[in-house]
């Protein structure tokens, strides 16, 4: 079944047993909405200098958006900002590939569980679900670190 390419075992696992869910203390908080389906996320980041101390979140949404937030938490917490940025950009690239991109070894190393989302990129309506938490993280990071990426990040999600 074609659907299995989207609902990978890994994704369903993250959906059922999310990592790091719940709101904890943070340097900045954002609330993002996907008006297409009503998915919502509230996300906080805490930085120690350039190191990501925590990404905590709460929200409601479909398996894809929930699993994606869980993967994000697993992947980014503990990373340096620059590396997190590379991961986020690579994930964005994968999601916008419309199923045309075959993850190579380098990508798999970088994205770990997140490569499981490759199949989602074939479903345009679901790409935004997968990106919701990532865009929220980008926005929250911009706010926490006082840069001005906030606007551009917000637009892309909506």
């Amino acid at each position: 079944m074609k659907l299995d390419s989207m609902y990978q075992e890994v994704i369903l696992d993250h959906y059922k047993n999310p990592h790091g869910r719940g709101l904890r203390e943070g340097d900045a908080e954002v609330h993002h909405v996907n008006p297409t389906c009503g998915d919502e996320i509230t996300l906080r980041v805490r930085y120690d200098g350039d190191r990501i101390e925590d990404v905590s979140y709460d929200g409601q949404g479909c398996s894809i958006s929930q699993a994606s937030a869980s993967v994000l938490n697993e992947l980014l917490v503990g990373k340096e900002l620059s590396e997190a940025r590379s991961i986020q950009e690579k994930f964005l690239e994968l999601m916008q590939s419309r199923g045309q991109l075959e993850p190579d070894e380098h990508m798999e190393d970088l994205l770990e569980d997140a490569v499981a989302f490759a199949g989602v990129s074939k479903y345009p309506a679901r790409v935004k679900c997968a990106l919701l938490s990532w865009m929220a993280w980008k926005d929250a990071t911009a706010q926490a670190l006082g840069t001005t990426e906030a606007d551009s990040a917000k637009e892309k999600t909506a």
């Binding site: 074609k2 659907l3 369903l12 949404g61 479909c62 894809i64 479903y123 679901r126 679900c129």
Partner: protein, 418 residues
């Protein structure tokens, strides 16, 4: 095959709708249950569009040449058809817009710019309901923000019906306008508008009825409704996209100011000032959606030939069957009236804690097209404490077999996420 009394001859009807032959996802037969979002179009409507463009296309009014006369006759003929379809006292009360949303915004704007006694302004009130489509909420929010008028609303009962208990307190001497839907687009609820109309008339408030989910499915009689304005949209009733209707009482249309300005809606223009044509033209600025009106006329002919009462009957039978089948499914919770009584063929539900987005996706893989999300009625989701719903909605070409496909599909969804 399941036989239910009151069903239409869907085998014949389905032949009129080319898209229903579509196969999706490597050969799955399309089961189109997203009719509350938009309906499919019969060949009769598509032929009317093609015929218009291939033989008669011209800009309407103000032309002396053959094509212009033909196009005008077709466009104005469509107005006659729509007027008859809703039993309007006069064809001049039928305004063509681009969709129901524009129709509703048109009323809100007219009332904001109107003179007394219609003017909505500070210290006046607007009343809507909690089950409105966003298109019948946001225009009134904008109007209230821009004028200082107060926005109030009817709440909902746990059964998915309007809570009319406080009607006397809600609709008061301050109320200038009451806007409500005849049929909920998310729950399928039929609303008893008579009580509300009566109370509105008592206090001299205007009543705006959103009939977007009624016009496609049942007899709509604007005179019987006794409302002041009635809005609906072509694409949900077998017509093309890009066409909506606003019916309004003639005296009101004469008294109220225009909304969009431009060609076609004027009587005479100088650089210093302009005067306006009588309704309906006063409210139709610019080149109208000519082909789309012609297409809507053909849709109205198509529906009328079958009979709106028979379509209603068909959907009633189907709804009864669907409600029965759906209630057999474990963990399925219908949002809105839980029986087939006083409701239309639009059924929203949740399925355990499987997110509607996931439900819709897995149904789609089986060729079953439903809608998931807020259905442009987010306050209803908030009211019932749910993130979203899955919505199946039927129409004159829907069959019991499609209900079965839905029920089976939902079992598959449950297994998939078990």
């Amino acid at each position: 095959m399941t036989q239910l009394p009151g069903l239409l001859d869907t085998e014949a009807i389905r032949k009129d709708f080319p898209v229903l032959d579509r196969r999706v996802h490597d050969g799955q037969r399309l089961v189109y249950l997203d009719n509350a979002a938009t309906s499919q179009k019969p060949t009769q409507v598509l032929d009317a569009l093609a015929d218009y463009y291939e033989k008669h296309n011209a800009n309407v009014h103000r032309g002396v040449h053959v094509l212009a006369e033909e196009a005008t006759a077709l466009y104005e003929g469509a107005r006659d058809k729509v007027a008859a379809f809703v039993n309007a006292p006069s064809r001049d009360e039928v305004i063509f817009t681009k969709n129901a949303s524009e129709s509703l915004n048109l009323v809100a704007n007219m009332l904001g710019w109107a003179d007394e006694p219609y003017r909505v302004e500070r210290d006046t009130e607007i009343v809507i309901t909690e089950m409105e489509h966003h298109s019948n909420i946001v225009p009134w929010q904008l109007l209230s923000q821009r004028t200082g008028a107060k926005l109030k609303w009817f709440g909902l009962t746990d059964e998915g019906r309007l809570d009319l208990a406080g009607v006397e307190e809600l609709i008061t001497e301050q109320t200038k306008v009451v806007a409500l839907t005849l049929v909920s687009n998310i729950m399928g609820t039929f609303n008893p508008v008579e009580d509300i109309v009566r109370r509105a008339q008592e206090v001299g408030a205007l009543v705006v009825v959103d009939a977007s989910q009624a016009a496609p499915h049942m007899v709509l009689d604007v005179q019987a409704l006794q409302a002041d304005f009635v809005a609906f949209t072509g694409h949900k009733m077998c017509g093309p996209t890009g066409i909506g209707v606003l019916w309004g009482r003639q005296e009101l249309l004469n008294d109220l100011p225009p909304f969009l300005g431009g060609g076609e809606m004027i009587e005479t223009v100088t650089m210093h000032s302009s005067t306006y044509a009588p309704a309906p033209h006063k409210f139709e600025a610019g080149t109208p959606p000519v082909a789309q009106a012609v297409g809507l006329g053909a849709a109205v002919d198509y529906l009328s030939a079958i009979g709106m009462d028979r379509i209603h009957q068909h959907e009633q039978a189907l709804t009864e069957y669907a409600v029965r089948r759906l209630r057999e499914i474990p963990d399925l919770r219908i949002i809105g009236p839980a029986t087939a009584e006083d409701r239309g063929a639009t059924i929203s539900f949740t399925l355990g804690d499987i997110h509607p987005h996931d439900v819709g996706q897995v149904l789609d893989e089986q060729g079953i097209a439903v809608r998931v999300g807020h259905h442009c009625a987010r306050p209803v989701c908030l009211r019932y404490g749910i993130p979203a719903t899955t919505r199946a909605s039927f129409y004159l070409y829907s069959t019991p077999a499609e209900v079965d496909a839905l029920a089976d599909g939902l079992e598959h969804v449950r297994n998939f996420f078990a």
